[in-house]
Amino acid sequence: MPDVIFQTWAAPRLRRVTVGDIQRCELGGTWNLLALEPHLAELQRQLVECASDQHCEWDLRQVQVLDDAGAMLIWRAWGKRRAAQLLLKPEHEQIFGHFDLPPEPALPGPLHNPLYGVMALGRATLLLADHLLTVVAVLGQVMLDAWYLLRQPASIPWREISASIYRTGAQALGITALVGFLVGVVLSYLSAQQLKLFGADAFIINILGISVIRELGPVLAAILVAGRSGSAITAQLGVMRVTEELDAMAVMGIPHTLRLVMPKMLALAVSMPLIILWTNSIALIGGMVSAHAELGIGYVYFLQSLPDAVPIANLWLGLGKGVVFGLLIALVACDFGLRIEPNTESLGIGTTNSVVTSITVVIIVDAALAILFKDVGIS
């Protein structure tokens, strides 16, 4: 058999013999971690039994292999000091020499604090304040950068901006189309069931038009983009922190806000309204298909009555919301990304928190805008 090398170990042995009135403990075989491991509990018990006799003589000369783990097991049975009567191979002497150290101070354990709840709340509040402060600072810096770029148009980072638009916009077309279409179909189908009861079939166009263009399209697209691009931005910045790329940029005198934050904010501010327009169209097509199947409304009629049913202000409102959402998603993602500490756990937590926060912020801001613009675009 080829695995001859596996077999050269004799199992660890322990034998108690009585010579005259002297107890003697004889250890033999292989005392290394891998050989000991299967017999650990049994050997530990036997060792303790032997060690319970203070005058026991220990004979370790039969031991072929001894490593730290084996020696530590024996050492602990002795009560962490050398046995009084000990016979040992000279080459094993130095292993026990390692253990003969002053006892190190115990590691401080986790402290139990009765005020833990209060402190956690306080810390969370301070963290929130800190986030808001950073967002304001980043926003201010971006303003300054924008002012600088307006005076020095040559240094506008066009490549970064267009690359970000491609990643956050063009590459998101597929998923937003799929989700938009399905939501359109479902919404139209459920509304059609209710409208049929009242014979108000034609109102399907109003319901679909207003809800999709004003509300659902922008929010759906924003949530998808927050999940897709927000997480990507946070993870990218986080990895750049881990690999010290952020420091490298700072050393070269390239401000993070100018090269990383602003292109992403600009890109999302441009691509979000376009994505929303795309999602709206696909969702309306989905609704149209469903309305045709359920209520028999013709495609041409649907498209012709859409402008009458939905005032154009709703479209501008939806697209305007897109710009705001895009800026917010980029801002939140960059804020979390720049905060990531150079370790893997922080990267994971940061990315998750970034996505959750940006989705929450999008919905909160959407609600606020809904109240603000309650008189606009609804006849």
């Binding site: 058999m1 080829p2 695995d3 001859v4 090398i5 596996f6 290394n32 971690l33 891998l34 491991e37 299967p38 650990l40 509990a41 490593d67 730290d68 783990a69 530590m72 097991l73 602990r76 130095q94 292993i95 390692h98 253990f99 150290l101 190190e104 101070p105 590691l107 401080p108 500490e341 150079p342 370790n343 893997t344 756990e345």
Partner: protein, 261 residues
Amino acid sequence: MTECIIEIKGLWTQFGSHIVHRDIDLCVRHGEIISLVGGSGSGKTTLLRQMLGLETPARGEVRIFGIPLHGSDQSQLRKLRNRWGMLFQQGALFSALTVFDNIALPLRELRTLDEDLIHDLVMVKLEMVGIEPHHANKMPAELSGGMIKRIALARALALEPELLFLDEPTAGLDPDRSESFVKLIQELHQELGLTVVMVTHDLDTLVALSNRIAVLCEQRLVIVGTLDEVVANTHPFIRNFFMGERGRRALEAVKDMVLLT
């Protein structure tokens, strides 16, 4: 047969159409320190990864302790993996775990040792690599590169392996640190009777530690032999490597040491 702890036979490594290794044969004997040398991108680390089973050979096979790395059953490979330790170039400490937990992890994975014993063993290992106990609760991000290397070595040694792999053990350490790291590995080698496979660029480390040197160049092993045998070889890469200014200085230093002792 039993002399070869690691046996590589007719090994080819290929990434797509890019051939890294072409028909490599190597036998690592018990108790020796063997160094893999070669230019940047010559596939030293890839060969090390082949020995660890992290890459799959395109052709040929790798046997460790006589067990083929590809094609053996999982339980046998698991047992094998407890018999070797690897020190990665950047340490590869788990950044989410403390120093203590990093070293304790392989011990805990055995699932038979009790926590007290693990604590004592970890402390012995930390002492062995010269890390003070009060660093045990720190996170890897708080430590310097030299300390990370030492702790990674302690983790590699946690299971008392018979075989130790080192990838650039002294890269990124200051001369003083790399000196003491070399001493540490020498001591461990004598004390534990380890077999060591090392990838290194550092001539001083190479000369100080290796019993044998394997030179990897143009996808093949050019020569495997002792320092004198390798230096005597006339292959252009070897001449450049050892007979350049730095190489000569390192060789002279070792000759002085031999004369002194």
